[in-house]
Amino acid sequence: MKNRLLWPLLALVALLLLNLAVTPSFFALRMQDGHLYGGLVDVLKNGAPTLLIALGMTLVIATRGIDLSVGAVAAIAGAVTCVHIGTSGSAATAFAGMALALVLCAVLGLWNGFLVAGLGIQPIIATLVLMTAGRGVAMLVTEGQIVTVNNTAYRQVGAGFVVLPVSILIALLVLGLVAFVTRRTALGMLIEAVGVNPEASRLAGVRSRTIIWTVYVFAAVCAGIAGLMISSNVSAADANNAGLWIEMDAILAVVIGGTSLAGGRYSLTGTLIGALIIQTLTTTVYTIGVAPEVTLVFKAIVVIAVCLVQAPKARAALSFRKVAVPS
């Protein structure tokens, strides 16, 4: 387990070192007005929404599901909050708006859970419905405009600091919470059981529906919080672009982190590393000045390299080791 995470971690470090080579000040941290600044802080901060969504996605994937709607849900969260805040500058309005948004996200999660666990629709199309319609809803809320707000309390979520950027703290808090809840209660084990063998789990008396329902709600709430961060970061709700394709990044983070799309055993730490790798990759592209037209090729190469490094078979191909067939 520890060993399994070693290689992704090395890949992450390698990427960071690449940045350091190009920008010598990349690792430098500096305090300014009690805020911590630096390249690493930026990576964490910008990676926070992806990380949050990837956390929710990890649990969904562990149950053999997938949630494509997270980007749309994030957009809805931002839209609802910003429209609720409007021109108000009061903290109370901001909190009410955020609470409203998160409750709504939970409802959307229930909806996904209903389609998957209740109606038995394949997760990918069940959530495709909300992926498409959800963005429409977000635009309906904002009437297609970019809604700009000017609310200091709301700014804190995505752009505020308590020494570290608040978004990092929130993401780490959620990570800790999920880790605690799934590993200290039996939830994690039951999720994995449902993901590996749904029928055997059912016959062992596991409430698989409730569990599936729970993970979709959790994923939606995570997406909601991420949506708040994204929108708060720029103090505006962009229904069309907020969280666009973030589901792909999140799934990629989960998969790089070593969780199989076929469900079953998952690793939250893996997801954390995966999300950081993805964000570092993006940041690297910006810092080392990869031309936009080469960006995608660069990303493709890095992604493949990262995967090859951590694939046991690829390493085994170099050093001669026997390869056992899974049975």
């Binding site: 629709i121 199309i125 419905v129 319609a133 429409g136 990629l252 799309l261 090729v297 493709a300 493949i304």
Partner: protein, 320 residues
Amino acid sequence: MTTLTQRVPSRFLPVLATVVLLVLAFGFGSVRYDGFASGQVIANLFIDNAFLIVLAAGMTFVILSGGIDLSVGSVVALSTMVTASGLQAGWPVPLVVLAVLLTGSTLGLLMGLVIHKFDIQPFIVTLAGMFLARGLCFLISVESVSIKDRTFRDVATTAIELPGGVTITYNVVIALLVVAAAMYVLHRTRFGRTVYAVGGNESSALLMGLPTTRVKVGVYVISGLCSSLAGLLFSLYMLSGYGLHAVGMELDAIAAVVIGGTLLAGGVGYVLGGLAGVLVLGTIQTLISFQGTLSSWWTKIVIGVLLLVFIAVQRTMVRR
């Protein structure tokens, strides 16, 4: 529905349910909109989605084997780019076609080999393939390139007259041929049946002594080939090459295949299901454009709702 359930083997039900739904949707459209009840509207469904039909056919192979291919949309874009710039550079048409098909299959082969040899999840490998193919487009040119070649234009604009004054294009013919070929391969050849076996249970298939390597790599070659062919059809359809063509089309292809009743986990499904899925997506779009009064956001919402109606009704029909 009970009589239906009894007479038709249950595995055909999803496809059948989809077809019934399509008929219902067309009935609804004809009653509601002028000009909807015409053969040409149905023909347009095929004309406008020929490339998606081909993509879905290739994707069916991959999904049946338990994999997924996210690169198809980008490979379509790359194919249009290769076509357009090749023609611009004065290459003869057959050479261009060959180059495109070769590019697609080679990319598929490479992805398949990486997936199989190094045991990396198809999702990541094909996602990297997606980046790579689109990146290559931009390396060729960031701007869109027009196709001015006469042969190409002629093929693109030729209308084949069907009885009843309905016209279709060569694209449709090619797409339907691909579907037929895919059906043949999947159902009548050892390769095809092994695709099902691998998707059903890979380790069993291996222990049964089936050529799983060939299949696991082969499906990506097929999907790559289909993507590049779809790219050619797309070039004919658009008469241009562009790096931003077909953004997100992989999702359409996957959705079509899954809507048609193919299990994402692999092992269960039909090519015809994919075709039906494409037609469902196309019909939703046609209904919306005939409505013609929806704002951008209502368009999205209605697409989602119609999609939901289709899959939920299909689901209840299949459930009995």
